[in-house]
């Protein structure tokens, strides 16, 4: 009898469009909800995090100045590629979160639809949040939203794919770039998502995904001088206080998030997009 042995994948980090191992050489075992070994995930270090911030900063000028139409197309393409790997994601989400195939499939569908929703916002957000300012004087004054810069994201711990997509897509839609620390115990859908990002025309460095522990990496992200905003969703409420204090050292924008992980299946609103945008007001004199 010959049973085929499946080819097991070595899961790695996703930094600057490449898939390196952790420079620390560390890995940690990932199990499914029942405790069965699935893989060894790369255990990202502080140095990996810094490399990821460098990559995100390098990618920022190109991504933020891409046309909104182009950004929308790229994000829609992510949804397309994700759809093509629906079965793989369903299996990984089911294993990670202990869901039935049907339940997991529904989460994956919602995650795909979320990419589509955010993809459609890229070329509308400026007209919805921008303004022509009727100032009292001979000036043309207008306000445009602009991306904040490099955003550090501690991804939700429970929802391994839908939660991750719900916090990452708004960052990319605004034109910011991201350094994400995935769910610690459920990291495999995140790494598979990075394979989708790598093959969806998302420029290298725009999204960087690290598998590791928010409790270990969070404070380095919060205090990093070249990170402009922080989403602390994946940290515990206690850790968030410390992260917010660290973030004050560089006047970082810190997202206000609920204590418990929200229900990611509810329809999002503009609030996450708004948090990653600055308003720039430009004044120009009128005259002949």
């Amino acid at each position: 009898m010959s049973t085929r042995i499946s080819v097991a994948k070595t899961y790695k980090l996703y930094v600057g469009g490449k898939f390196p191992r952790s420079e620390s050489g560390r890995v940690y075992p990932v199990t499914d909800a029942a405790g069965t070994f699935l893989a060894n995930a790369a255990h990202a270090s502080r140095k990996d995090l810094r490399e990821a911030v460098v990559a995100a900063r390098k990618a920022f000028p190109g991504w933020s100045s891409a046309t909104a139409y182009n950004r929308g197309q790229v994000l829609y393409r992510v949804a397309e590629v994700l759809e093509g790997r629906r079965d793989q994601f369903t299996a990984e989400v089911a294993a990670s979160e202990g869901l039935s195939a049907e339940q997991a499939g529904a989460r994956v569908d919602t995650a795909i639809d979320r990419w589509v929703w955010y993809a459609g916002w890229t070329d509308k957000i400026a007209s919805v949040l921008g303004a022509a300012n009727p100032v009292a004087g001979p000036y043309f004054s207008f306000t445009v939203p602009e991306p904040t810069g490099v955003v550090g994201v501690l991804a939700p711990q429970e929802s391994s794919l839908l939660g991750l997509v719900s916090v990452l897509a708004p960052v990319l839609a605004t034109g910011s770039t991201a350094v994400v620390v995935s769910s610690a115990d459920r990291p495999l859908p995140a790494i598979t998502l990075s394979e989708v990002l790598a093959t969806s025309d998302v420029p290298g460095g725009v999204a960087n995904i690290l598998t590791g522990r928010a409790s270990e990496l969070g404070s380095w992200l919060a205090s990093h001088g070249d990170v402009n905003a922080l989403d602390p969703t994946g940290a515990t409420p206690d850790e968030r206080v410390h992260l917010a204090q660290e973030a004050a050292g560089t006047v970082k924008r810190v997202l206000t998030v609920p204590d418990a992980e929200p229900d990611w299946t509810t329809e999002p609103d503009l609030s996450r997009l708004r948090r990653y945008l600055e308003a720039k007001t430009v004044w120009h004199p009128l005259g002949v």
Binding site: V135, S141, T148, A248, T250, T256, A279, W283, H284
Partner: protein, 477 residues
């Protein structure tokens, strides 16, 4: 006096209705604060203007309770259309008492009467008019059909625009249905307390606005108070970071309007005479006590000498002296402490090898004054190119290409404002795109309007004041 010199044209100090004593304003009454009274000084003469009662931590608690009660029982329940009428009343009262407020502001702050009269007070009134109109239209602001206020707003403002910063803070807070506990700066409390009287004349319900003079510890008490829902701060980046740290982990919503080191970029095709006027306005407006002041001049190398010559000539015609003289361009530095800080930074410029030029204008013997100063041959690493001086001191750097101008302009942890001078419209828009700053002025500088959002990138803070965007700071969205 030469034939072309100006005769003195002093505004009457009597218009200020200056009193000997001023008191904190809590729950609709002027009360004896239990803090140590402070004496507020005329920085142009070093004379004591008045004694001002200050708050203690227990007064902060009383004020917050009054504000909470007013919020729960009156202000948040009132239809927006009615709130609007109070804001319109306040705007009108500021206009009616504008001369009194302008003179009082110049006495207490040291700023020239020409600026307090033509800029500060009218813009303060405009902020109440603008926000009054929002009070019953918040459903149209883009934050959902029925956005809710936050509750009690604790507000701490600086000394550079005492009345105007008060208006920037209180007008949107009240329009959106919040109540307020505000601390004016230690050195400039007087117009805030006249504003309290205006609230009484407007018959604003007690507790909706509370004004607590005091020093930094009172600001800290407001920031730390557990029953305050929102903190708005304008001031230094150093204090802003401290506040952000304090508020971390609480449910308080925070907006910060902090320091700046704005680049004012002059291209070789700019109308140079007009640009020089803009440079002067950019850095010497309000004695340079402006967070968005154009304190780093970036001039294209090919016109640098010409611009510097014209600039020195123009600056030497600025009149420095009595703030109440209507011919005065540059008034007094607000405090001895600030004057010392300016001296310290200017000395660092000398020590680091920049070329200092100081206007030969006469400087009064008494009072805190600093003659307009221009540093050339400034390098990016020097303290005078990196730190906010908050005084009439300009640092001049040069560049060759637009890309170099962008790189140098963005080479700062701040990001509040920037200026661009060129005749080429496409270059203006390209530069405006590239510059990481919350406000970009093209062929003008230091323009403010309640309809135009104002606020910073990076370490210049977060949140905006003015416009539809500014309402977000006071809404639960």
């Amino acid at each position: 006096m030469g034939i072309f010199d100006y005769a003195p044209a002093p505004e009457s100090r009597a218009i200020a209705n200056l009193k000997d004593h001023y008191k904190p304003f809590v729950d609709g009454e002027f009360v004896d604060g239990s803090g140590e009274p402070l004496k507020t000084v005329n920085p142009a003469t070093e004379e004591i203007l008045a004694e001002v009662g200050t708050a203690s931590a227990s007064d902060v608690d009383t004020a917050v309770r009054a504000a909470r009660r007013a919020y729960d029982t009156v202000w948040s329940k009132m239809p927006g259309a009615e709130r609007a009428k109070y804001l319109f009343r306040i705007a009108r009262l500021i206009q009616e008492r504008s001369r009194e407020l302008a003179v009082l502001e110049s006495l207490d702050n040291g700023k020239s009467i020409k600026e307090s009269r033509d800029s500060d007070v009218p813009t303060a009134a405009a902020h109440f008019f603008y926000h009054a109109g929002w009070a019953d239209k918040l459903g149209y602001a883009g934050y959902g059909p029925d956005p809710k206020p936050l509750g009690v707003a604790g507000q701490v403002i600086p000394w550079n625009f005492p009345l105007l910063m008060l208006a920037w803070k209180i007008a949107p807070a009240l329009a959106t249905g919040n109540t307020v506990v505000l601390k004016p700066a230690e050195t400039t409390p007087l117009t805030a307390l006249v504003f309290a009287d205006i609230c009484r004349q407007a018959e604003l319900p007690p507790g909706v606005v509370n004004i607590l003079p005091g020093a930094g510890d009172i600001g800290a008490s407001i920031v730390e108070h557990p029953d305050v829902d929102k903190i708005a701060f304008t001031g230094s980046t150093e204090v802003g970071k401290l506040i952000q740290r304090t508020v971390a982990g609480t449910r308080k919503k925070l907006t910060l309007e902090l320091g700046g080191k704005a680049a004012n970029v002059v291209f070789d095709d700019a109308p140079l005479d007009q640009a020089v006027e803009g440079i002067v306005n950019g850095i010497f407006f309000n004695q340079g006590h402006v967070c968005c002041a154009g304190s780093r001049l970036l001039v294209q190398e090919s016109v640098a000498e010409e611009v510097l010559d014209k600039l020195r000539h123009r600056v030497s015609t600025l009149r420095l002296g009595d703030p109440l003289d209507k011919n005065t361009d540059i008034g007094a530095i607000n405090s001895a402490e600030q004057l010392a800080k300016i001296h310290g930074l200017v000395e660092s410029g000398d020590a680091e090898g920049a070329q200092r030029w100081t206007s030969p204008c006469p400087v009064p013997d008494r009072g805190f004054f600093f003659a307009p100063t221009v540093f050339s041959e400034v390098h990016q690493s020097m303290r005078i190119a990196r730190e906010e001086i908050f005084g009439p001191v300009l640092s001049v750097l040069t560049f060759r290409t637009p890309e170099e101008a962008v790189t140098k302009a963005n080479n700062t942890p701040y990001g509040l404002s920037a200026g661009i001078w060129t005749e080429k419209g496409s270059r203006i828009l390209w530069m405006a795109n590239q510059l990481r700053a919350g406000v970009v002025w093209a062929n003008t500088f230091n323009r403010f309007d309640p309809a135009a959002p104002f606020g910073g990138y990076q370490e210049s803070g977060f949140g905006r004041e003015g416009g539809r965007t500014g309402l977000e700071a006071y809404l639960s969205v």
